[in-house]
Symmetry: C2
C-alpha cells in the first residue's frame, strides 16, 4: 500500500519512488511481483499518470524493477543481503583509463562528434576574470608563496563535501577529500596507496567483461585483483547502468576480498530523463568505495581538476605514504573554484549545462530517428555526452568511420575501449555531442545519413 | 699560456676560466700542478687581481682545482675520460624526496628560519593580474574547454627550452619537455617510465652516503639500482657541490649500467658569489640524464609547476606509457607563465630575486659571524635558500631547536634528511632564509645568540 501526502516538501514522484524502493529492499515486494499498472496506481493515488511513470522509470533504470513491454513492471532479484537498506545505485567496470583518442589524421572535419572536449561558449569567462582578480587581491593570496596542503585548500574541500552530499548522497568530511589534477593523477594516487612497504607497486589491471548489467562479477571473482575501477552510473563507453542487485554483489565482493572499488562518477551531473542515479558510495557502509568526481565534464577539462574521497580507515595510510607531498593544483585556481562554489555559481552552472546538453541530446536522438529510422539503434541511457550507435544491417565500424570522414564528419571507433578486441562488436560506433551546437548536430546527422545510406 | 682579449664580448673572467678549464680537461695541466698565483697571473695579463680570483674560485667550486690555504691552487684528478670534453658541472644524491617538514607544534614563532616557502612580497601580483586577464581574453582561451597536450602547451615548452639553454647549458627541443605539477609528480612520471610491461613498478630507493664531494660512487655501484636522484649543483641539505671528476664518474656509471640520473636542478638560479654551476645535463653526451627544473624556488611554490627534460631515446616509450594521459596543469596557468617568459619578465624576475636573496644571504652570514664568532661554522656554498650550521662545541640539535623554540625562533633538524640516522651528525642544524626579510634575519640571529650562548 502506498500513501502520498499532497503539499509535502517531498515531491509526489519522490514519495512513490522511495516507498516502492523500500518495499523492494525490505522484501515486502518479492522478486517477480508485478507492480500495479501506472494507470491504476495514478488513479488510486489521485496523481498524474506521468508522475507514477517517472517513479517506475527511475526504479527501472536503477535495477529494482524491470519493464516487460505490453505486460508491466516486475520486481527484480535483490541478492540476499540485508546490509544495504540504504540508498540504491548502479555499477560496472572499465579496464582502461578514460582518455582522449590519439590518431594521426590530417582531415579538416566540419563536424566532430567527439565526447571529451566541451563547447567554448559553456565556460564562464567573464565571471572567471572577476573571481581571478578577487583571488589575486585577497588577503590569503600570500599562500601563493607557500607549499600548500597536499589534499587541497580546506575551503574548497568543504565546498566539495557539501556539493557531493546534496547531489550524490556521498557523506564525508573535508579530511577525506584529496584534490587531484585529473583522472590519471587520481588513479596514480590510489595505486600508490596500495604499494607495499617496499615501495613496490603490484597493481594488475585485468579486463573484465561488461554485459548489459555491467561488469561480469564471476569473472572478477576469478581474478586475484583487489582493486576495481568502475563507472557505475554511466559506463564508458557502453552507457550501461548497473542494477542494484549487481551493486550489492560488488560491494559484497569488495568486503569479502578486502578489496577497493574506485567509483568514477565522471558525468553524474548529466542525466536528462531520469533523476540522477545515487552513487555507489552512498550504498557502501563498509568503506570499500573510493569515490571520484571531476570538474572536467561540466565546467572545463582544461582546469585539470578532480577529487577523490578516501574512506576514513585509509587516511592514516594516506598520510604516511604521502608524507612530504604537496598540493598538485595551483593555489590560485583552488581559490577561484572555491569562490565559484561558495557563491552558488557552480550549482547554477550545473543546472544550465544539464539543460543545455539535454536539448542537444534530445535533438540528436530525434534527428537520428528521423534521418536513419530503424537502420540504427541508439545505446545511451539518456545521460552524459556520448552514446553508442548500432547498425542493424551489420555495417562495420571501419567503413562507417571512413565514409563519415569522406564527408568531413568525425565519429569514433569503439575498439580502443575493448580490452579483448575479439569481443568488440563491429557494427557499433561511438559518438558524442560535447563540442557541437544544436545546429551543427542537425547538419552533422544529415551528412552522416548521406555518407552511410545514400550511396 | 693564457691569452686574454680586451674589449671582447666574452668577459675577462670567462676567458681565463674557459682556457684554464680546457687545459685541465685536455690534460695539458696535469693533476697536482700548481696554478700560477692570482697575483702573478693578474700582473702578466694586465687584469685586475679579483678577475683572476673569480675565475680560480669558479674552477675551485666546480672541482677542477683545489685551494690550499697559504699555498695556492692545485689541479685535481680528472678521472681518465676523454668523452667529456664539454662543459663541467657537479653532483650528488638524495634518497628522500625534497618536501616540507611536518611537525605538530603549536608555538607561535616570531622568526622562522625555514627554507621552502617564499616571501610574500616576491610574487608579482599586479603583473599576474594583468596577464591573467589577457590570458582569459585571448583567442586561444577556448582551449580551456579542451583536454590539452599531456606534455604541456607548445609555447610554454619552447620558452622553457630557451631559458634552460641560455642559463643552464641544457640543449633540448620542446618535444623533450614534460610539464609536471611539482617534484613529486615529476618523480612519479619518471618512475612510471621505468615500469616493466606488466605495469609492475620495481623502483628501489637506496640511501647512498654523501661525502664532502657528494654521493659515494663505490656504494652506489654496489647496489642494483639503475635510477639515481641527485641535486648536483647544490645538494639538499648539505649544500655540497660535486666536483667534476665525480660527475664524470657518475656519468660513466650510468652509461655502464644503462642507468638514468635524475638531475634535480632545484635552485640553480640562486648562486651568490660564483657563476651558476653548469648543469650535469650539459656534460652528458650519452643521454643518461633527465634534467628537472622548477618554478617553485624563484617564483612561487603555490603555482605547482616544474618540468623535466627527457632524453630523445626515451620519447617513444614516454608516448607509449602515457598514451591517453592529459596535461596536469591548468591551461590558464600555462598561458600566463608562457606570456610571462615570452616578454622577458621571468629573466628580470630571476635577476631581481637572486640579488635580493644575495643581500639577505650576505647579511645572514655576516650577522652569524659577528654574533656567534667561531662557535659555529657555516656550510653552504653561497647558494640557494638554506645552509647547515655546525656547532663547534658539540651542542646537540634537539637542544638547539628547543632553546630556539623557547625564544620563538624556529630552526630545523637535519635528521629527517639522513637515510641512515646513525650517520647524521648531532651538532648540526638546518636553517633557511626564504621567508624572512633582512631586518627579521638580523633580529632572529640576535635571538638565537641569546638562546644558545647566553644562559
Amino acid at each position: 500500500m502506498i500513501d502520498v501526502t499532497m503539499g509535502s516538501n517531498v515531491s509526489l514522484y519522490q514519495q512513490i519512488y522511495e516507498q516502492l524502493k523500500h518495499k523492494i529492499i525490505s522484501g515486502e515486494l518479492e522478486e517477480g511481483t508485478r507492480l500495479t499498472s501506472t494507470r491504476a496506481l495514478a488513479k488510486n493515488l489521485c496523481v498524474a499518470r506521468n508522475t507514477v511513470e517517472s517513479a517506475y522509470a527511475q526504479l527501472c533504470v536503477e535495477g529494482y524493477v524491470s519493464s516487460k513491454p505490453g505486460s508491466g513492471y516486475y520486481v527484480m532479484n535483490m541478492a540476499d543481503d540485508s546490509l544495504f537498506i540504504h540508498l540504491a545505485p548502479h555499477l560496472e567496470k572499465c579496464s582502461e583509463k578514460v582518455g582522449t583518442v590519439s590518431q594521426v589524421d590530417s582531415t579538416e572535419y566540419s563536424h566532430d562528434f567527439q565526447f571529451y572536449n566541451l563547447e567554448h561558449a559553456s565556460f564562464p569567462f567573464a565571471l572567471w576574470r572577476r573571481l581571478s582578480a578577487e583571488a589575486l587581491a585577497s588577503f590569503d593570496a600570500r599562500k601563493i608563496c607557500f607549499y600548500n596542503d597536499k589534499q587541497g585548500e580546506l575551503d574548497l574541500r568543504t565546498e566539495i563535501t557539501k556539493y557531493i552530499r546534496d547531489s550524490r548522497g556521498v557523506r564525508c568530511t573535508p579530511d577525506q577529500v584529496v584534490l587531484c589534477c585529473g583522472t590519471q593523477h587520481a588513479l596514480d594516487v590510489i595505486c600508490t596507496l596500495f604499494h607495499d612497504g617496499n615501495r613496490t607497486v603490484a597493481v594488475e589491471i585485468f579486463g573484465i567483461s561488461v554485459g548489459p548489467e555491467g561488469i561480469d562479477l564471476d569473472e572478477l571473482d576469478r581474478t586475484s585483483t583487489q582493486l576495481t575501477y568502475i563507472t557505475p552510473s554511466h559506463q564508458f563507453p557502453t552507457g550501461v547502468v548497473m542494477p542494484i542487485h549487481k551493486r550489492v554483489q560488488l560491494l559484497q565482493w569488495a568486503t569479502k576480498r578486502d578489496g577497493i572499488i574506485i567509483e568514477d562518477d565522471y558525468d553524474s551531473e548529466l542525466r536528462y530523463h531520469t533523476r540522477p542515479i545515487p552513487s555507489l558510495h552512498s550504498t557502501d557502509i563498509n568503506g570499500r568505495v573510493i569515490y571520484k568526481g571531476t570538474f572536467s565534464k561540466s565546467l572545463s577539462p582544461g582546469l585539470r581538476m578532480s577529487y577523490i574521497i578516501l574512506p576514513k580507515w585509509l587516511l592514516p595510510k594516506y598520510h604516511t605514504v604521502f608524507a612530504g607531498y604537496n598540493a598538485t593544483i595551483s593555489w590560485f585556481q583552488q581559490k577561484i573554484i572555491s569562490l565559484y562554489m561558495e557563491r552558488g555559481h557552480w550549482e547554477r552552472h550545473i543546472r544550465k549545462v544539464c539543460l543545455h546538453n539535454k536539448k542537444k541530446h534530445d535533438i540528436l536522438i530525434k534527428t537520428i530517428h528521423e534521418q536513419m529510422g530503424d537502420r540504427v539503434r541508439i545505446h545511451g541511457n539518456n545521460a552524459g555526452l556520448h552514446f553508442l550507435l548500432e547498425f542493424v544491417q551489420g555495417e562495420k565500424q571501419e567503413w562507417l568511420i571512413e565514409k563519415a570522414r569522406e564527408h568531413k564528419v568525425r565519429v569514433y571507433p569503439t575498439r580502443p575501449y575493448w580490452h579483448r578486441k575479439e569481443r568488440c562488436r563491429e557494427n557499433f560506433i561511438l559518438m558524442g555531442f560535447s563540442m557541437l551546437s544544436e545546429k551543427e548536430i542537425v547538419e552533422g546527422i544529415a551528412l552522416l545519413k548521406k555518407a552511410w545510406f545514400e550511396q
